[in-house]
Symmetry: C2
DNA sequence: CTCGGGTCTTGACGGTGTCAACATTGCTCC
DNA sequence: GGAGCAATGTTGACACCGTCAAGACCCGAG
């Protein structure tokens, strides 16, 4: 099979694989139709049989990046469950911190994929999926859980999702492409810890609680 | 004067003006050397007598955008001072909310300029200026003020700057180019309000305070 | 009056995304 | 099993872009 080299036979998959690799290395700038075609060993324009245009390709990669992100978040959530089984409110608090930490962890570990995920057109299906089945949904579930266990006040629940999202997203962006790009990793880690403590404190206060989250509880991810 | 049309005489200024206008309309994508040259009525490549390369031009526009941003923040700060003169802690709280609100207000009002401001290379002078004399400095001053008046605990002060910055920056980015781009203005405003209340609550809790910021106090900017 | 240096222009090169026309292949249907 | 059609890949062209290299032009200093 595939003795003839005219028809690639697996071009779409090959292009997507190569695109993902390129995105991990060089971000959105690595996703050039011609360059990808070159790397796959096919002549320019061949990609147009499988993708409407460049945007279509980056949407594909963005979707993959989003999947990676949500599985990363799920992993961190699972780790929390192993630790705090029988204490509902502590569990909920740790779960919120975990999703937040996983978010920026992914952004800093896979900067290329992260950038591509938010390069895709906001009107497109990727952005929609991000809201209905992506990281946003996960965050909302955790926040609802915090309300159920009585840690987060219902009035404070409204808007808490975009607040938390804005927080971790802004942190990621500022540290990736923003003025904080050159910050030493230690400073970054410290800032992230303070950030997570700040939201926990805010939501604790929403139900009149004064206790602060034990700092080592946040350390369960390397 | 200027009878000869060979030498433009004011090319640099004209280019920057046109670049700013283009940035306001189309963001970073509007900053093409050839297109700008065309709009100014000069042939391509003329810009190279005044700018090393494209990055140099966008840095110029980014610097201008940053100035606009900080003056916008200063204006909102001034408005607070008129209202709450004799109550130091209320004043400090409102000032923090004001800088935050001004930040996202600018982002949503001048999306093109905002995008360009954070397009510039993070190693460059613009990013440096953003930290040493830009919005970050303003934010730090307000946070220090909160510590002085005893509203923000010194331990919580550490990292509070990047937390606040991340918050408003993330909110801006998500609403500009992210999945929240299509959100109705009313929802945006509500989310922003909750966001500002959340940080106030967090910092109030840092010193054991339970009172919440009166909501109308936040309404002083349209 | 010359001539030098700063300014602008013209032309070229390699890169990109995209459209149109053409070549090749494999699958289906008779 | 062969014919033909639709899917796939190729070649070529066009319009952009940033950038480098040479030339044309003009003003001011000597």
């Amino acid at each position: 099979m595939t003795g003839s080299s005219y028809h690639h036979g697996r071009l779409r998959e090959a292009l997507v694989e190569e695109a993902i690799a390129a995105a991990r290395e060089r971000g959105p700038a690595g996703l050039g139709l011609r360059e990808l075609a070159r790397r796959v060993g096919v002549s320019h324009n061949a990609a147009y049989r499988h993708f409407a245009d460049r945007e279509d390709l980056v949407a594909e990669v963005a979707a993959h990046a989003m999947e990676q992100l949500v599985t990363a978040m799920r992993v961190r959530l699972g780790e929390v469950d192993e630790v705090a089984e029988a204490e509902p409110v502590l569990r909920a608090r740790l779960r919120l911190a975990a999703v937040g930490r996983a978010y920026v962890e992914f952004a800093l570990t896979e900067p290329g994929l992260f950038r591509v995920a938010f390069t895709a057109d906001p009107e497109g299906a990727v952005a929609g999926a991000m809201l209905t089945e992506g990281p946003y949904l996960l965050l909302c579930q955790v926040l609802d859980e915090m309300v159920e266990v009585g840690f987060l006040a219902p009035q404070a629940r409204e808007g808490a999702d975009v607040t938390c999202w804005s927080l971790v997203h802004g942190f990621s962006v500022l540290n990736l492409d923003g003025p904080l790009a050159g910050a030493p990793p230690a400073a970054r880690a410290a800032a992230l810890e303070q950030l997570l403590l700040a939201v926990d404190r805010s939501y604790a206060a929403s139900t009149g609680r004064g206790d602060t989250l034990p700092r080592q509880a946040l350390r369960l991810s390397p």
